[in-house]
Point group: C2
Chain length 376, copies 2
């Protein structure tokens, strides 16, 4: 291999490829990048055996070839090079770099030993604008379970139907539910579903996090290919392929309340500020109490910690139905509020022991279900 | 106590006061702020018994008084309040806060139990512009010893003479030396020394770090008062008082070379970039080699790690005297380069086993002495 490319292009792609790598002491080659010439470009690959990352960098190819080299070292070195042309040449299992008055050689391994990154049949299931995808993933990702003990909910559940795509997460204490309606004016030209049949897939949380990061502020079409066990995110010059989680997603529909005894309309910002203040005073149980006062039209946000003190904020609200006095985990409540992009929201309750719903007043595309902390 | 002040003013002062506090489980009152009304303002104090912090916040005083309350809680709570008027009132050993539609009460302790922050005689030793002080401290602070095992060098050594102030740090592997010449045009109106006799003091590293942080981007006169055991930094509305380190500073003058066998003139930026690249390849010993080539007028920066590879950068240099091949710790070399504000620098050597000096070509106000790693 003998190629020339520009430092800035190489650097960005190496940075992205490096993120996929989890340090592996039993299979050291997984700490390497695979560099290969591929149809006139340099292909960079990395994998942790669950996620495979590939990206292509425009290069001048003087001689085809390949090598694998330590990822951390190459990435750090290229980061520190000036933004000029870099020559990368492979000789005797070593990668030689030349840039301006700078030379380096990096010991490599045979590229045949690098694990094969799986392929997926090249049929696009879905094409979606990157900004739409990013917003949808961002709105739900903080409600997924972090623990690996229940992998099926340490995930984002995706339901693809002819006219809508749903993104669902839960950690069994709360549930976030985002819908992209393909019929909406905003989305008409930004999503295209190549519909065969309904597809329900479970995407590992880490995969979703990496995709979010790689999407960054891009404004491009992302093509998503799905087969039985795998998903491919195709961003053009960058591919991320991941296994899907097998098994069944919990039957979350059963817990979505169908009617409500109380509705409380208020400002999202005001509630967010009050919940943060409560967080200062809540005990280890992270408790915050919400008390409606329908006759005086306010919601009281209250927290108390006998050792240190207490806090109370009153927020103007329009309240319909029975008054409630309900206790939540303030961190979960805050997560839900952060996921709502609208300022006018409604809280919906069925007494103080049943799940509540938080959602924007004027939009049906998002709701957040929150279990109360039961009063003992 | 019953006062009204503005959230923004209170927040900034609480943030600064909080930084001084190191969590203390044996003397819990040290985790508190002392709040006192003081001549028409609110005085906030915190201390870890080594550093005492005091600042004054403009307030409307309705009733004099004082209390101590948990610092972390008050700071976090006030940070989350809207930028409006806050009423703080003390009743029954509790601090009641009112701001807009928000109420809180925080359990306090009797202010008599709060340790007394020592005072210092009110004679200014030195008045110095905050930007000048910040630059001088910044230029040397990264070369002080971090460990507490030798407290006298985990410090900044300050030598105050009639016409100059020296700032010196060392960790026994390198030494940074900054001088403010009061005769220089730049400094004439920015430093005033109330000279009695030469004063040599040893300021704890942590104190220097806190002062640097509090100075921030301010452009004000800082008055420095020194007595036998203590130093006071008076920023007007903020006072920081610290104990000084007793004992003798090492006789650093003995290691300052008086003549040189080799001088190498080059660009600071080029050397910094090359040293960073070397860092990617250096082994656990952090070694980087500098080799002068006087006949071809370049300095070669070289690092090698048998396991992973090697790197070499050639930098155009004007070299006078014998060629050298000398090895340094690349991190220490980088620290020294970062402290030089000029682009033209000179490296001065006496062979490969003796300390080298790095300094700007056109300024006498800074030099950095670096011990080589001895070739075995």
């Amino acid at each position: 291999m003998n190629i020339i490319c520009i430092q800035e292009n190489l650097k960005e792609n190496l940075d992205n490829a490096l993120r996929i790598i989890k340090y592996n002491s039993t299979l050291p080659i997984l700490n390497n990048f695979l560099l290969t010439t591929d149809k006139g470009r340099l292909k960079i690959s990395s994998t942790d055996l669950e996620i495979g990352f590939t990206s292509w960098v425009s290069s001048k190819i003087l001689k085809d070839g390949s090598i694998t080299v330590p990822a951390q070292l190459l990435s750090q070195f290229v980061n520190n090079l000036p933004n000029k042309n870099i020559n990368l040449e492979v000789k005797d299992q070593k990668l030689y770099l030349n840039c301006d008055n700078i030379k380096a050689s990096i010991n490599g391994l045979n590229s045949d030993d690098f694990p094969i990154i799986p392929k997926i049949k090249n049929v696009s299931t879905l094409i979606i604008n990157s900004k739409i995808l990013k917003e949808a993933l961002s709105n739900v990702i903080n409600s997924a379970a972090l623990s690996n003990s229940r992998p099926e909910i340490s995930s984002i559940y995706l339901r693809i139907e002819p006219d809508q795509i749903k993104f669902i997460t839960t950690d069994s204490f709360r549930l976030a539910h985002k819908t992209l309606f393909l019929t909406s004016e905003d989305l008409k030209n930004k999503i295209k579903i190549n519909y065969q049949k309904s597809q329900n897939i479970i995407i590992p949380l880490r995969t979703a996090g990496e995709i979010l990061r790689i999407l960054g502020d891009k404004n491009i079409d992302v093509s998503i290919n799905i087969d039985q066990n795998q998903i491919l995110f195709d961003l053009g010059d960058t591919h991320l392929i991941s296994r899907l989680i097998e098994g069944n997603y919990p039957d979350y529909k059963a817990i979505i309340p169908k009617s409500f005894e109380t509705k409380c309309y208020l400002s999202r910002n005001s509630l967010e500020e009050a919940v943060k203040l409560s967080g200062c005073f809540s005990s280890r149980l992270n408790e915050v109490a919400l008390k409606t006062n329908s006759s005086k039209s306010y919601l009281e946000v209250f927290s108390n910690n006998n050792e240190v003190g207490n806090h109370q904020t009153k927020i103007n609200s329009e309240i319909k139905g029975e008054d409630v006095n309900i206790t939540f985990n303030w961190r979960y409540l805050l997560d839900g509020l952060k996921n709502i992009n609208n300022e006018e929201i409604v809280l919906e309750f069925n007494g103080d022991q049943k799940p509540a719903v938080i959602k924007p007043v004027k939009s049906a595309d998002f709701f957040y279900i929150l279990m109360p902390i039961k009063n003992t």
